[in-house]
């Protein structure tokens, strides 16, 4: 029986950081402190409640500085999925008199696209703008999709499967030229901590963030809502977050989020430069060592510093993931949320890739913990795994 070394228990090579990251020790300490020592309910009026409230306030201030927005415009959520759901539903519900039309792109995260499809069933109209072969949306095509009754445009900053970076600033400009009152939401879950996110400079009205992609805890996210933008709450209950996001604050998660954000931003821009260099090296080494590998999506030099998508033609991505895991190397076939389905990724399909590249795609994603040694071990493992899997596949095709 081959047993797979799990990350953390053995010196594995974890290159699935777009799925989630390891919490860093300072984050773990902050979470433990909030659970154990400053465990009060921020809504309580006594000292214990006040101490917990301070943790939330500090975290909010860190995120506000990071985005260069007022702290009061940030709302903590249970994660990126809730923030994305809330942005779409909350804004459309609050602007039902202005219109019932939503514009988004073909490569958004499922928390946007599935919500959009559901909204369509509920009577809204949705236009999904295609992307080019490198996974880039054309700002003019987004603007062209805007109609008289368009309320919201939602575009992600960094795609989670291929790492393409959308020209958000140009999208906002093009959209506003057409209709100034249209609101723009940006899903910055994969971008935050890796690229600058500047909603005010860009004219973006709403931004989604998540903690666990930047070495923070799972189950914590935030939505930035520019002051003056009308949004309805998804939940009803208490007065937390101005009544827009009721429910006792997830203080440990929020405290950990604040620490994770503060630390990763201190490491910038050096961190992204280092990841970008490692990513380029990885692509170069794979091309040198493994025959017939294609890069999907943007040119590696143009994409986000931590994500690259490769097709090892002739080997099924799913089987390769298992073969790599046997060698202690952890990558993914697509985004982790959809990779248990057998259907090919909607993102790769949107690029118009041929079936053999869809089936053989791997997503490799780096983090601040990734080293040159990891890259070498990945390349060595991929060379072996690709040969192993291709041999069996080729035997079937041969006769």
């Amino acid at each position: 029986m081959v047993t797979q070394p799990a990350p953390g228990t053995s010196p594995g090579v974890y290159l699935d950081n777009a799925a989630t990251t390891r919490a860093r020790p300072e984050v773990v300490a902050a979470v433990v402190e909030a659970l154990q020592d400053r465990f009060g309910n921020p809504a309580s009026i006594h000292t214990a409640g006040l101490e917990a409230e301070r943790l939330v306030k500090e975290a909010r201030a860190v995120l506000a500085r990071a985005l260069d927005v007022p702290a009061e415009d940030l709302y903590f959520t249970s994660g990126g999925t809730e923030a994305n759901n809330w942005a779409l539903r909350g804004v459309l519900a609050a602007h039902s008199r202005r219109g019932r039309h939503l514009v988004t792109t073909a490569i958004e995260h499922s928390s946007i696209l599935t919500t959009a499809r559901r909204l369509e069933e509920e009577g809204y109209r949705v236009t999904i703008v295609p992307v080019d072969a490198r996974g880039q949306v054309d700002p003019d095509r987004v603007a062209a999709a805007v109609e008289d009754d368009t309320v919201l445009v939602s575009v992600m900053l960094v795609n989670n499967e291929i790492g393409s970076i959308q020209p958000v600033e140009d999208v906002v400009r093009a959209v506003r030229r057409r209709r100034p009152e249209v609101l723009v939401h940006v899903d910055a879950v994969q971008a935050f901590g890796k690229l600058p996110v500047r909603p005010r400079a860009w004219g973006v009205d709403l931004v989604t963030l998540s903690a666990h992609k930047i070495h923070g805890p799972k189950g914590t996210g935030a939505l930035y809502v520019r002051r003056g933008v009308r949004i309805q709450p998804l939940l009803t209950g208490g007065e937390q977050e101005g009544g827009l996001r009721p429910g006792t604050h997830n203080v440990p998660g929020i405290a950990g989020f604040g620490v994770a954000a503060r630390l990763i931003l201190q490491e910038q821009p050096g961190l992204s430069q280092r990841m970008q260099a490692l990513k380029l090296r990885l692509v170069e080494r794979v091309r040198a060592e493994v025959p017939d590998v294609d890069v999907n999506g943007p040119d590696p030099a143009d994409g986000a510093p931590h994500i690259v998508n490769l097709s090892v033609v002739g080997a099924r991505g799913e089987v390769l993931v298992h073969a790599l895991a046997q060698r202690g190397v952890y990558v993914s076939t697509g985004s982790a949320c959809t990779s248990r389905r057998t259907a090919p990724s909607h993102v790769l399909q949107a690029l118009g890739l041929p079936p053999e590249r869809l089936d053989s795609a791997l997503r490799i994603s780096l983090s601040r913990e990734t080293t040159e040694d990891d890259v070498e071990r990945f390349v060595a493992a991929l060379r072996e795994a690709a040969a192993e899997v291709r041999a069996v596949a080729a035997a079937r095709a041969r006769r």
Partner: protein
């Protein structure tokens, strides 16, 4: 008023000299199924098993647990009353009224009155009234209390049962069907080939229903099949274990055998050869486990490997009988059973098993044994099979917790 569950078993009551053994097995299985209720007495009188939970226990969850014990034909929640005509009559009236309340819609045949009868059984011959006396006397009293009813001794809608024993009288009118079959283990042991699909878990269940103790055998081919596919088979086994207690599960390391088939043998025969290797390995496991048969989830003609020719060519490698409990079922019937057993929702999770991943484009639908033998002659399989067995794991899988009511 003490709740008692009266368990009836049909088939095993008929088994001549084996009867005590069957009854012991049934008692064992009942005690296992009721492990969550310590202090429950389980004992038998001729033709009946009685279950007495501690006073104050809600009998409904026990009733549900007993519905997963093979060998049980029906269970009735009964009430124990004193050996006294007045007490018996009062008890009979209570269970009759409870049964009337349970009847949806109400009315009797052709819109007429609801019909009932009393069925007494007196094992305590010192009780002054005979069974017939009791039937008449209680019938009359119940009719007096409920003049809207009508007695029908041929085809009553409600039957009020009274059992007069030495320690008291037991009255009941409600009966819940059990799964039938024979207690697990009484007919022997068999190796069941368990994939992650819909069919084979149903085959395990059917084997258990006929009293077999299944030894589940799963073939795992990492990296071509995922750890989650293996996990799924463990989860399926956990569900099946609810019907018979902890189950043995062999996870056979099949990768090298699988790879050799892919690399060295004609693609149209890969499925046939794979199944032949699986049967050979299962036969070896059967020898270690003292199992006397193989069981599969095959149903005739569903896929290429299940044509009669395929089945013959595959079974040719073993001298053990190969039992195929699903052979007479349609796919829809199998799905229906899988849903009732609780394995369906796990089976449809999309993790690939060996069978789906290695299906060639054009499998041979009528492979002959000589063809398979010729294809296998290209290499010595013994070291691969020995290694596969050597690297296998044997798990003992505990039952999944009952879903919360």
């Amino acid at each position: 008023m003490n709740p008692v569950l009266l368990v009836r078993y049909g088939e095993i009551g008929l088994k001549g000299r084996n009867r005590p053994q069957f009854e012991q097995a049934l008692l064992r299985q009942i005690r296992r199924a009721l492990g969550a209720w310590p202090g429950t007495a389980v004992y038998r009188t001729p033709g009946r098993v009685w279950v007495e939970p501690p006073a104050g226990t809600d009998p409904e969850p026990l009733l549900e647990a007993l519905q997963r014990v093979f060998g049980i034909v029906a269970v009735s929640p009964a009430e124990r009353v004193d050996l006294d005509l007045e007490a018996i009559a009062a008890g009979a009236r209570r269970v009759l009224e409870a049964a009337l309340e349970d009847r949806p819609g109400g009315g009797g045949p052709a819109g007429g009155p609801v019909t009932f009868k009393v069925e007494a059984r007196r094992s305590n011959k010192r009780f002054p009234l005979t069974s017939l006396d009791l039937n008449r006397e209680l019938g009359a009293r119940l009719l007096a209390a409920h003049p809207e009813l009508k007695v029908d001794v041929q085809r009553p809608q409600v039957t009020v049962h009274v059992e007069v024993r030495h320690d008291g009288a037991y009255v009941y009118a409600r009966s819940v069907p059990g799964p039938g079959g024979l207690p697990v283990g009484v007919t022997g042991r068999a190796c069941v080939l368990l994939s992650g699909g819909i069919d084979s878990p149903v085959a395990v269940w059917m084997a258990m229903k006929r009293g077999l103790r299944p030894i589940c055998v799963h073939f795992h081919s990492p990296p071509f099949t995922s750890e989650r596919a293996r996990e799924k088979v463990v989860d399926l086994t956990r569900v099946l274990a609810r019907w018979g207690g902890p189950l043995a599960l062999w996870v056979v390391h099949f990768t090298e055998v699988q790879r050799a088939i892919q690399l060295d043998c004609p693609p149209e025969l890969t499925i046939t050869l794979m199944r032949r290797m699986m049967f050979r390995l299962a036969e070896r496991i059967a020898a270690r486990e003292r199992a006397l048969a193989l069981v599969t989830g095959e149903s005739l003609g569903q896929v290429a490997s299940q044509t009669l020719e395929s089945i013959r060519t595959i079974s040719a490698v073993t001298t053990l009988p190969v039992l195929r409990p699903l052979i007479g079922l349609d796919k829809t019937e199998i799905v229906e059973r899988a849903r009732a057993i609780g394995t369906y929702d796990i089976s449809v999770l999309p993790y690939e098993d060996c069978c789906t991943l290695f299906v060639p484009a054009h499998p041979a639908t009528r492979p002959r044994p000589e063809q398979a033998e010729a294809a296998e002659a290209v290499r010595d399989w013994e070291p691969l099979l020995a290694d596969a067995l050597e690297r296998s794991e044997r798990l003992v899988v505990e039952p999944a917790a009952a879903p919360w009511p």
